[in-house]
């Protein structure tokens, strides 16, 4: 009787209420993940600090590159600072809060995916928020600092700064969904953590290089087939030239990769077979 009443109440929820409910639960998961990560204070600080130092190295590498070659195709040290800052910021946001997209393969492999699958909330959102990465907070802090330095060096106007900020959500969406797609390899191949990681590197590696050096078919491939330029170079070019067309491309790609990820995840889940792992969840 009570169950029937509950089902009736649930079905009476409006779409907006459902979305609010999903987002509210997602927010709680994120808060719990971050609180758990911050519990080990020294480890937390070391990971954040270590990641900032780690990121400095990539900036140094490309500054040295442009020191040797000078400005190439409109790209110099200044643009590289913008690129690395924007990438670190979006990567940090994407994986400080939604690292489950990268860890999905591990859950499939060790059998804990069962418990995620049985969650009464939206599976996609639950997968994304199941884990957080502490070091990604370091990326986020580094990204904010470097983007600020870029805005100052490039004398960005308020419109350009707002444009840069508006590009964070679509780029984070591309990163999260591409990571989820690469993690879905786990549905098809056992013990594929390294393979998933390497597949993700195929998008992320080239995104860290100055996109001014990708021309012709290479540029097309890294924009459409693998969205590397869309998460790095294109946003920086769009902001520098106030190019709304490029901003539009980034948003279209974000929607496209979101839909592809949903499709791949649905196909993968259909293939999934429970290993009947038993254990206590604390």
């Amino acid at each position: 009787m009570e169950a029937n009443a509950l089902m009736k109440r649930t079905s009476q929820k409006t779409t907006l209420q459902k979305i609010y409910s999903e987002l509210s639960v997602m927010g709680k998961y994120i808060r719990i993940n971050l609180a758990a990560a911050a519990e080990l204070r020294i480890s937390f600080l070391m990971q954040v600090g270590g990641m900032i130092i780690n990121n400095v190295s990539f900036v140094v590498v490309w500054l040295l590159f442009f020191n040797a070659f000078g400005t190439i195709n409109g790209w110099s040290g200044k643009e590289v600072i913008g690129l690395q800052g924007f990438l670190a910021l979006t990567f940090g946001i994407a994986f400080a809060f939604f690292n489950g997209s990268r860890d999905l393969e591990l859950f499939i492999n060790n059998g804990t995916f069962d418990s995620i699958l049985l969650t009464p909330k939206n599976l996609y959102l639950r997968i994304l928020t199941v884990t957080a990465t502490t070091s990604a907070i370091g990326d986020m802090i580094f990204g904010i600092l470097l983007s600020g330095i870029y805005a100052y060096m490039a004398h960005l106007s308020l419109t350009q700064v707002l444009l840069l900020v508006s590009l964070v959500p679509p780029v984070a969406t591309i990163l999260i969904n591409f990571a989820l797609i690469t993690s879905c390899i786990g549905f098809y191949m056992p013990d594929s953590a390294q393979l998933s990681q390497d597949a993700f590197e195929i998008i992320f590696g080239p995104s860290m290089y100055p996109s001014g050096m990708y021309q012709g078919i290479v540029r097309f491939a890294f924009l459409v087939v693998i969205p590397s330029i869309a998460v790095g170079g294109l946003p920086v070019e769009a902001v520098a030239n106030l190019d709304i067309f490029k901003v539009g491309i980034v948003w279209v790609l974000a929607v496209a990769w979101f839909l592809i990820a949903l499709f791949v995840l649905r196909r993968g889940v259909r293939r999934y077979e429970s290993a009947n792992l038993t254990g206590a969840r604390v």
Partner: protein, 263 residues
């Protein structure tokens, strides 16, 4: 010694059991090399000249050697030791009839071999095709000296990564050490920019510190390599000796500190 060689061959065999992983490594490194090829071809074409005696072929081959040698080096030993300390399997292995670190050394050495071979088999033809053969400075003596430096570099990297893995026994998470060291090797080893293209102060730092030493072999195509390689070898031997002593001290302290809870 035979038990360590057994660990080595066991790792090689284990790698053979996962052919898909090997296939992946045969894609990723050549992919990185192709990216560098695209970038450096464009950059040199754009400026229309060589830089410090380095042309496209030398730059790309140097970077390719870096990425190939990475498989023969000891980045992975950090993760192994760090994980074993966290999981508690480290203590169990100390009771075994072998030296823990020596065993990990040979195990890691075996793990990297097949990945190195697979990557090289795919990457070298790509390089030969796109750079129209070997760089103009290639010669047999350079190749032999580079082999010696590659072996020396492997030993330096083993020392460095084992040394930074041992603090896992004291602190909760030693990964920040790994990130810093790993990225220092990335810069001073020439992962993205050949050493000869760096400013002279960076070159000097790379030539003297343990961060450049693991990858001295990448300099084999540089114009001045034939005169500089003996000095590079001496630097490598120096760091191997330093790390050997430091690891012995830190490992003995770690063993004294270790407390095993029954259960």
């Amino acid at each position: 010694m035979s038990k360590y060689l057994y660990a080595y061959f066991l790792s090689v065999k284990e790698a053979l059991y996962y052919p898909k992983k090997l296939q992946t490594s045969a894609i990723i490194v050549p992919f990185r090399i192709l990216m560098m090829l695209v970038i450096y071809t464009y950059a040199f074409h754009y400026i229309g000249r060589s830089v410090n005696g380095i042309d496209v072929a030398i730059a790309v081959w140097s970077i390719a050697i870096y990425h190939l040698l990475l498989y023969m080096q000891f980045r992975g030993v950090f993760r192994t030791i760090d994980e074993e300390v966290r999981k508690g399997t480290f203590e169990l292995q100390l009771n075994k009839p072998y030296h823990y670190l020596a065993y990990k050394f040979w195990e890691q050495f075996g793990k990297g071999l097949l990945n190195f071979v697979m990557s090289a088999v795919v990457a070298v033809p790509i390089l030969l095709l796109f750079t129209h053969g070997f760089p103009s400075t290639t010669s047999t003596p350079r190749f032999l000296y580079a082999l010696i430096l590659a072996a020396g570099g492997t030993m330096v990297s083993a020392g460095l990564y084992i040394l930074i893995a041992l603090p896992s026994l004291w602190i909760n998470d030693a990964r920040p050490f790994f990130w810093v060291v790993d990225k220092a090797i990335l810069i001073f080893g020439g992962a993205y920019i050949p050493l000869a293209l760096l400013p002279s102060s960076f070159q000097t730092f790379a030539s003297l510190t343990p961060f450049g030493a693991p990858m001295f072999a990448t300099q084999m195509f540089n114009p001045g390599f034939l005169s500089s390689w003996p000095m590079l070898l001496i630097v490598q031997l120096f760091w191997v000796a330093v790390f050997f002593v430091l690891i012995r001290i830190v490992f003995s302290k770690a063993q004294k500190r270790l407390s095993i809870n029954g259960g």
